[in-house]
């Protein structure tokens, strides 16, 4: 067994991404209603919540109607009042089954005159039956026809609109997306009343058949990126899509990176802002987190609140967020590097102060730092999973016991506790959780680099990180723009936030269409 045998990769059993084709549907509806109804019951394993009804209607009871819907997904009142009742009662009083009516018209007449409901589709294959029933629609079969009518009767228990839990703002709308796709699209429609806002829906996931919607503003969004996203979604071949994170992992550009290349949000206003810049929003039924594509590094440090507060405050807050990025990433490593290898860099008084604190501590700086960081990560994870009632107890235990007592026991030095606390708080400043996780992981890498190679190691690490970031692309757009391809025109919204009357054009690389965003002049009081 040579080393090269270990390193050679085994033949992959997965299909090559580029060779996947989209599958086609098959199967036709039988014209015998009872056959269809029995078939439905059998296929669903006689599930108790699939309701089927088979009745005869018409003046002489010669028209056979079959109904199927899912209890819990379909609004029962709607189905009773507006689907079954018209078919039962109205049809009965209509002279439809007399010999005068041509058989071929019966279906059309029923479909056009007796099925109230705005969202109506004619289905002719078996697979669609299940798709519609399991989405909450009601399917109506007419005896003698191998077609069915699917009427939307969706109405299930859903969470009301609440404040988003993850991205809170001080000023701004407090509505957040919910788990229902239709509600989410409605939230966006309400804000962008534009004929060019197009929504395309896909059904992804073999077992789950989850609805995935793609939103973009035609004319602003880059058509090539739209096409690319559509292709990638169609190529997904997976059992289940439970959350937008699945979609994210399956269509992202770069897999071997810890940095997220797609941004997610729970806020409709953030999603609308993205749409108006030419980005594409991907919504997944069942999760309030929507994806925004393409994403830039800068975006993870921007919050929608930046646009609702004044420009100068927003600029300073953004600068603070960048500062916190470096603090969260480098503070423990800088401390380790300077106190272990480069003591000459500290002013003498500071050095004496630090040396005094480290006098009784048994561990070298790196061990102390790693211990405290891991402890803090444990505390943080526990805080997330903790049931609400116990939450405060954990923070008290964490702060008092671990921090204070460890210092007094002489296991860690006080300065290390300060550094860990500062780092932790700085890492919460960044509004995007996925980027914060990447920073947390990198912090440990930098700590190890600092402990082995000192400041030189930190610099090498930073260079490698920046080089890696610069090589990432999010759907064709360089990840670090507008810094790296330096686009001077886009600097107005990167770290600075120029007042709204100064933002003339959309970001160049995303929409590729140099469209003028607005042209309002700087506001001034009127001259006398």
């Amino acid at each position: 067994m040579k080393l090269s045998d270990f390193l050679k990769s085994k033949k992959s059993k997965k299909e090559n991404w580029d060779n996947i084709e989209v599958q086609a549907d098959a199967g036709q509806i039988p014209s015998d209603v009872s056959y269809v109804i029995d078939g439905i019951k059998q296929t669903m394993g006689n599930s108790a919540d699939i309701i089927t009804r088979h009745f005869k209607t018409g003046e002489n009871g010669l028209i056979e109607i079959g109904i199927a819907y899912t209890d819990g997904l379909a609004d029962k009142n709607f189905v009773q009042d507006f689907i079954i009742e018209p078919l039962m009662t109205d049809l009965r009083i209509t002279k439809l089954d007399s010999e005068n009516i041509n058989q071929t018209n019966l279906f059309e007449i029923i479909k056009d005159f007796h099925v109230p409901g705005g969202d109506m589709k004619v289905i002719s294959d078996v697979k669609s039956i299940y798709t519609h029933i399991l989405s909450g629609d009601t399917v109506i079969f007419v005896g003698g026809y191998s077609k069915g009518v699917a009427v939307s009767s969706r109405g299930w228990e859903m969470r009301g609109l609440e404040e988003p839990s993850s991205q809170t703002v001080v000023r701004g709308p407090k509505e957040g997306f919910t788990e229902t796709l239709r509600i989410n699209t409605s939230l966006i429609r309400r804000r962008i009343k534009n004929t060019n806002l197009w929504i395309e829906t896909f059904s992804v996931g073999e077992q789950t058949q989850t609805d995935v919607a793609l939103l973009y503003i035609k004319g602003i969004a880059n058509d090539k990126i739209v096409q690319e996203v559509k292709n990638r979604i169609k190529k997904i071949s997976i059992d289940a899509i439970l959350e937008s994170g699945y979609i994210e992992e399956l269509i992202q550009d770069e897999s071997y990176t810890i940095f997220p290349t797609m941004h997610n949000t729970e806020r409709p206003d953030a999603a609308c802002g993205a749409l108006l810049e030419g980005r594409i929003v991907i919504m997944v039924d069942g999760t309030p987190f929507v994806l925004m594509v393409p994403a830039l590094f800068i975006e993870f440090f921007q919050s929608s609140e930046d646009y609702y507060q004044r420009a100068d405050i927003s600029t300073l807050l953004r600068i603070l967020r960048f500062l916190c990025l470096f603090l969260a990433l480098l503070t423990p490593s800088a401390y380790i590097a300077v106190t272990t290898f480069h003591q000459e860099m500290l002013p003498t008084r500071l050095l004496i102060s630090l040396a005094a604190q480290r006098e009784g501590v048994p561990f070298p700086a790196i061990v102390e730092a790693v211990m405290m960081e891991i402890t803090f990560e444990i505390l943080r994870e526990a805080g997330v999973r903790m049931p609400r009632a116990v939450g405060p107890a954990i923070s008290i235990v964490g702060a008092l016991v671990l921090g204070q007592a460890a210092v007094e026991a002489g296991i860690v030095s006080a300065s290390m506790v300060i550094i860990v606390a500062l780092t932790a708080i700085a890492s919460f400043v960044s509004p995007a959780f996925n980027m914060a996780i990447a920073i947390r992981i990198l912090r440990f890498v930098f700590m190890i680099l600092a402990a082995t190679f000192g400041l030189y190691g930190i610099i090498i690490g930073l260079i490698m990180m920046v080089a890696h970031l610069a090589s990432l692309r999010s759907f064709g757009v360089p990840f670090l723009s507008p810094m790296a391809p330096f686009i001077a025109a886009d600097q107005k919204d990167a770290i600075l936030r120029v007042p709204l009357w100064g933002m003339f054009k959309r970001p160049r690389l995303i929409s590729q269409k140099d469209m003028v965003r607005e042209n309002s002049a700087r506001p001034k009081p009127p001259k006398k």
Partner: protein, 394 residues
């Protein structure tokens, strides 16, 4: 994965092999703040002053002394320092060195040899002060405890620095300055001198810092003149002041003159600039010194009316004369010692290099015959917050 796996394995092996090579934990180093070098029969006796960090930073104000002194002997300075590890608790770490003290005897024997180690060592910076212990050994001086500053090296450094900025006769000499003066052919080096007032043996004990009035202190007020690298003599207060005037080293100082009716007037110099030019007048070297000073009247102790312009002009005239006297006194002393500590030779070489070439070999003799022309220009700007003094008219 095929491309990443070898890279990752190389990385992990690299980290494992190097480990934390050349790591120095803070609790493994002894921070040396002052270094004392004395000459003994066959080599040097080196004493170091180490900081005791626990005692300094302790919030309760610790009972332990903030500094410790260890000494060892060796044929060379570096050997002595290494021998110190046999007595010191940790390896000495010189990056934060603040003061280097040479014993007077050592200075008289020559400083070039120990200075080489100080410049060459990679862990030493160039920002420490070099001083000579006046009339005693460096080891005795380094042991003196000072109140307020637990580490006496800090006290020495800050007091020399502050004194230089506020009191004309003091000059701080850093290593790079000393070395450049040593190797320059037109300038001789000078060094600050430190004197211990009181008995250094008592200064070594804790009682020194337990009294209200400190019995034993270190005073930094003297400038020592070196010829080549050997100490030849000390300048007194007036001569040091003159030296600082000539070398443009006055930041802020005070000076007084006697008034006619008795009493003194003191002025505070705020700004001072000295232009020193060397010229050759028909092959004869000559130095022109032009001093511009701005001053405020700080203290009026005689019945003089300073609201009149004539008074001010007269005062200026008197101060000009006094400064000129100080400067000439200083130059006379240097001429007596045949040492050009002002850099006149350098100024002349800047004026005309070829003529300087001829002079420089006999510069010590030429220097005694040097013609120095001074032009002093004091301008009194402000008179403080009151105008007329309330002294009694006689």
């Amino acid at each position: 994965m095929k491309k990443i796996a070898p890279l990752l394995s190389v990385l992990f092996i690299l980290l494992g092999l190097t480990g934390c090579w050349s790591k120095k934990e803070l609790s493994e180093i002894a921070i040396v703040t002052a270094l004392g070098i004395d000459m003994i029969e066959d080599g040097y006796r080196v004493s170091i002053q180490i900081v005791n960090p626990g005692a300094i930073a302790a919030k309760t104000g610790g009972q332990d002394l903030g500094m410790l002194v260890y000494a060892a002997e060796g044929r060379t300075v570096l050997e002595a320092i290494r021998r110190l590890t046999t007595v010191a608790p940790r390896k000495p770490y010189f990056a934060h060195l603040r003061v280097v003290i040479f014993g007077e005897e050592t200075a008289k024997a020559g400083l070039r040899k120990p200075l080489d180690f100080l410049s060459r060592d990679h862990s030493m910076r160039t920002d420490f002060v070099i001083t000579i212990a006046k009339g005693m050994k460096a080891e005795d001086q380094i042991k003196v405890l000072t109140p307020m500053e637990k580490v006496s090296a800090n006290k020495i450094y800050t007091s020399i620095e502050t004194a230089e900025k506020n009191w004309a006769p003091t000059k701080i000499v850093l290593l790079d300055e000393l070395v450049s003066a040593l190797i320059s052919e037109g300038k001789e080096p000078i060094i600050t001198g430190l004197e211990v007032l009181g008995n250094p043996e008592t200064g070594n004990k804790r009682e020194n810092i337990e009294r209200v009035q400190v019995p034993v202190t270190i005073k930094s007020d003297y400038i020592g003149v070196l010829k080549e690298d050997k100490l030849v003599d000390w300048l007194d207060e007036r001569e040091s002041k003159g030296f600082n005037y000539i070398t443009d080293n006055i930041t802020n100082t005070v000076g007084f003159i006697e008034c006619e009716g008795g009493g003194t007037i003191t002025i505070e110099t705020i700004r001072s600039k000295t232009d020193m030019k060397g010229i050759f007048e028909k092959d004869k070297p000559k130095i022109k010194i032009h001093i511009t000073t701005e001053a405020d009247i700080a203290d009026v102790e005689c019945p003089i009316d300073i609201s009149k312009t004539e008074t001010i002009t007269e005062l200026e005239h008197k101060f000009n004369k006094k400064t000129e006297a100080i400067i000439l006194e200083s130059i006379d002393k240097a001429k007596k010692l045949k040492t050009d500590i002002y850099g006149f030779g350098e100024a002349l070489s800047r004026a005309d290099a070829k003529k300087w070439e001829r002079l420089k070999h006999t510069w010590d003799e030429e220097f005694t015959k040097l013609d120095v022309e001074t032009k002093i220009d004091i301008k009194i700007r402000r008179t403080g917050t009151i105008t007329e003094s309330f002294q009694k008219e006689e």
